[in-house]
């Protein structure tokens, strides 16, 4: 498929003053989805998200039209999100895809937690994350595309099944499954829209504007709002700034206050621990694709060794329990 040519044909429908698409280039990252950056000849900066032609259907992820609908709902609710310009139709020749405005900023966690350029926005970022999550969690669920519902026990069971199927013998993960099962909170009375992957890497941060966009909605579901607050506190996304539990840039109190003070720290810490456990299992899963020969790259092999970072974090969390 010639993505650039299809975008060129689509250009007049993306902006009334455009005739052509320019500079179409595939961005790195995103194994399951393609992301393309391009511009219109009226200087509109855009992003295309599309399902690759050869893509294996994704079991847990949302269809792209659903993702676009969620981004529109977030935008309407006042949460920072890129504006969706167009959801592709069969005649557009781009497959399952949508086009949104390209935001300016940085997603690389290492830079956000360390670079001088972000020093001015870092102090307010944890509170802002809490505020943005509160807006997302308050979006009425009736109007949303069909979404899976999950809770703490369901997530534990799902990841334990994956872990068992791999036949790995990892005592720390075994202990963590039993510990978290014993303390799992009951599902919330009313499940809310959960982003599902709210962390460094999926947050577009501008050196002056701060958090300007929440990206990658493909893991969104209905569930416990504390899940999103816990996930951004997982140590793996702190990039060495381990004393700042919220994304390597902030403190729990600011995150919780920003959310409105309606969620207990214990509940967030539970989901943080479950997040570390999930990431540990995911590292092992990614290594499995090396072990089975599906992907023999050094990258897939080395990701397996990151399971031990989640193990050291889980030990610290169990000791503190």
């Amino acid at each position: 498929m010639d993505v650039a040519a299809a975008l060129d044909r689509l250009a007049p429908r993306l902006s009334p003053t455009a005739t052509r698409a320019l500079n179409a280039r595939r961005l790195s990252g995103g194994a399951s989805l393609e992301t393309w950056a391009f511009d219109l000849d009226d200087a509109t900066p855009l992003i295309l998200r599309r399902q690759p032609d050869s893509a294996i259907p994704r079991e847990t992820a949302l269809p792209l039209a659903g993702e676009a609908a969620l981004i529109r709902a977030a935008d309407a609710a006042g949460a920072p999100a890129p504006r969706v310009v167009h959801v592709c139709e069969p005649g557009d020749d781009l497959g399952e895809a949508y086009v949104m405005r390209r935001l300016e900023g940085e997603t690389l966690g290492r830079r956000i937690v360390r670079d001088e350029a972000f020093a001015a926005v870092r102090p307010g970022l944890a509170r802002r994350c809490g505020e943005v999550l509160a807006r997302i969690h308050a979006i009425p669920t009736e109007g949303l595309p069909p979404l899976a519902t999950s809770d703490a026990r369901g997530e534990l069971a799902r990841y334990e099944a994956v872990y068992r199927q791999m036949g790995a013998a990892r005592p720390i993960l075994e202990a963590a499954f039993r510990w978290l099962e014993a303390i799992a909170p009951p599902p919330p009375e009313r499940p809310v829209l959960v982003h599902g992957d709210f962390r460094n890497g999926n947050l577009m941060i501008h050196p002056e504007g701060g958090l300007v966009g929440v990206l990658d909605w493909e893991l969104a579901h209905l569930g416990d709002p504390a899940e999103d607050l816990g996930w951004i506190c997982v140590n793996s996304w702190r990039f060495g700034e381990w004393k700042k539990p919220v994304g390597g840039f902030g403190d729990y109190a600011d995150l919780l206050d920003g959310h409105g003070g309606d969620i207990a720290l214990d509940r967030v810490r539970f989901w943080q621990a479950l997040g570390s456990l999930k990431w540990g299992v995911m590292c092992l899963m990614m290594y499995q694709s090396f072990a089975t020969g599906a992907d023999r790259s050094i990258e897939r092999a080395m990701i397996g060794r990151r399971a031990s970072e989640t193990e050291i974090d889980l030990v610290a969390l169990m000791e503190a329990a």
Partner: protein
Amino acid sequence: MTSHPTAAELSEAVAAFEAEPVLPGDVRQAFLARVTDNARATLAREAEHGARLEAEAVERLTALLGQAGDFAALNARLCEALRDGAIDPLDPALLAHLRATAVGQIAIDQPGYGGLAALLAAEAY
């Protein structure tokens, strides 16, 4: 002691990357070259510390379980005991073993990881 991948698998992946033709300016290959450098460093640390860490783990597991055996057998036995509830996940003797195991493993995999400093700082209290 170390798996997912084992040192042999990791060495194989390093050798496979080294056998690939160099494509100047290829962004993906430049990224993989950095990953391969990290893998070599990991293998060097494992060669230096792996055997000692495994011997220490076997010693701790023998005391914890009251059984003799090699690392794989004892480690599998511990997993079983945790799974069937024979050992509580927050048992202090268990946690002492898990802490030592995690510290040893991170020394091989990622000695600069912030979680190590966090765990050692917690020790001070």
